[in-house]
């Protein structure tokens, strides 16, 4: 299992051709208290860089863009029921959706964990 990170503060954990996607702990802390999440339905075709989910904090709405292309195979309905789970466990139980990768080559430009933590530290 390998975990990748994007500059848009998403994480992707890949096992074979299946990827689990969520937002990073840094992203949740920037958003603040999350009160509403909408995840894509199973079967949705996602395109890299296109809207995949919606997160609303007390203050504002944010789109979550899919970091990869593929077909949604599972959505985490638990975070729709309990949006605060994204705040408390962004990089664990607060995952958003699982996707059957269309092009594993899309992972090539992504950061590893260490690189991502350094990227966040540089943001101040």
């Amino acid at each position: 299992m390998t975990r990748y990170f994007t500059q848009e503060h998403e994480w992707i954990e890949v096992e074979g051709s299946l990827a689990t996607v969520g937002i990073t702990d840094h992203a949740q802390s920037q958003l603040g208290d999350i009160v509403f999440v909408e995840v894509p339905a199973v079967g949705t075709e996602l395109a890299k860089g296109k809207e995949a989910a919606v997160v609303e904090s007390v203050k504002a709405a944010s789109d979550v863009y899919s970091p990869v292309s593929g077909t949604v195979s599972e959505a985490n309905n638990a975070i729709e029921e309990d949006p605060a789970l994204v705040n408390s466990a962004a990089e664990g139980e607060g995952w958003f959706f699982k996707v059957e990768l269309a092009d594993p080559g899309e992972l090539e430009d992504m950061m590893g964990e260490e690189e991502y933590r350094a990227f966040v530290a540089d943001l101040g």
């Binding site: 603040g32 208290d33 009160v35 509403f36 909408e38 919606v54 609303e56 904090s57 007390v58 203050k59 504002a60 709405a61 949006p83």
Partner: protein, 378 residues
């Protein structure tokens, strides 16, 4: 493409380093760098509703209008009955345009003087430059307009605010009720303490020299019942309290009657007139406005934000002017202007958010009951 003017960097509040030391996340707002949150908006919101929150509102404009004829001069711009306002009393009022549109909302306080006339105004931070220019353009030379740029303003709000204040400024709690103001001293500095705020809770707004702000803020949060609260919770608290926000729920295109603020147009002023927009406002009072500001309670968890259309069947009948999740209620709420025929509490409407129709019901405001401490009340 047109060249962008260079962005002006936000001005720092007197308490800037204090906010940062307490872990605030600072954001630009109204030209200032302001704390949006410390530990989190929900926690700060709930703390204010159950204990006491300390808000830095030093970005707001504090102005004194004084001199012979100050009362009449100010009455020519706002619809309040200042003759009936005893020294130390406060009123919510509106700076009106010629067509009755709202230039800003404000609090006016009759200041005690030695026989002269003086009024304190607190206006919105984002509007204070325009407000002061408007006052200078409209008021006669004999009336002095003083903008107090060296004063800070701290708001202590919540059911335990009075108890916290009483330990730092003994006796004030017993001296003033809601919308009353008193002058006092603290560590040799002059303070104006008002029993007012914008959260719906009992509380105080303390005007003091900016150089003393940090010491007083420290003294207040030294009490474990008081915690610093940011702009984020200030917005969710005022929304639950049904209090309109200028620039969103009130603009130059809204009038006091449609906004549900007819209480701010006093009886004497209705009869006598002499304020901008009198004729149009009287017509709106008599005939009823075409649209009204209402509260909406939304089903589900998805909040509707400013600009979302309000629908009745398939017809657009209004627009959301501010909205968000209500931490005290656990569901989203909003303020909207809707057709007057559909403004009755209980009316079922829909709000469109990202192409989806969310069921919404017209709800009386405040959404969360006010908890003001009125003089004479137990």
């Amino acid at each position: 493409m047109a060249e962008q003017p260079p962005a002006e960097s936000p001005v720092k509040l007197p308490l800037d380093s204090w906010h940062i030391a307490l872990g605030a996340r600072m954001v630009p707002f109204a030209g200032y760098s302001m704390p949006i949150q410390y530990e989190g908006i929900m926690a700060e919101h709930e703390w204010t509703r159950s204990h006491a929150g300390l808000f830095d509102v030093s970005h707001m404009g504090q102005v004194t209008i004084a001199g012979e004829g100050a009362r009449e001069a100010l009455e020519s711009l706002i619809p309040a009955d200042l003759a009936a306002l005893a020294p130390g009393r406060m009123r919510y009022s509106l700076l009106l345009a010629e067509d009755g549109g709202i230039l800003d909302d404000l609090i006016v306080t009759a200041l005690p003087t030695d026989g002269g006339e003086a009024f304190g105004l607190v206006v919105n931070g984002a509007m204070k430059g325009e407000d002061i220019a408007h006052l200078r353009a409209c008021l006669p030379q004999a009336v002095a307009i003083t903008y107090h740029r060296n004063l800070a303003l701290l708001a202590l709000q919540g059911p335990e605010a009075a108890a916290v204040l009483d330990d730092v400024l003994p006796g004030i709690d017993a001296q003033i009720g809601f919308m009353q103001s008193v002058r006092t001293e603290w560590q040799g500095a002059p303070l104006q303490v008002a029993r007012s705020g914008y959260t719906g809770e009992d509380g105080f707004e303390i005007s003091l020299p900016a150089t003393m702000a940090e010491a007083l803020a420290d003294a207040l949060v030294a009490d474990e019942r008081a915690r610093p609260v940011g702009l984020g919770a200030r917005d969710s608290l005022r929304l639950e309290a049904g209090l309109p926000l200028y620039g969103h729920d009130l603009t130059t295109r809204t009038d006091p009657v449609s906004a549900g603020l007819a209480f701010a147009i006093s009886k004497r002023r209705r009869a006598e007139g002499g304020f901008p927009g009198h004729a149009r406002i009287m017509r709106l009072l008599e005939e009823g406005p075409p649209a009204l500001r209402v509260g909406l309670a939304l089903e589900g968890r998805m909040p509707a934000r400013e600009g979302s259309p309000v629908l009745n069947s398939d017809t657009i009948v209004g627009q959301v002017t501010s909205g968000g999740f209500a931490p005290s209620l656990g569901h989203p709420i909003a303020m909207a202007y809707v057709d007057a025929a559909l403004a009755a509490p209980g009316t079922a409407l829909e709000v469109e958010v990202r192409g989806r129709r969310l069921p919404a019901r017209v709800t009386p405001m405040p959404f969360v009951p006010h908890n003001y401490h009125r003089a004479g009340a137990a």
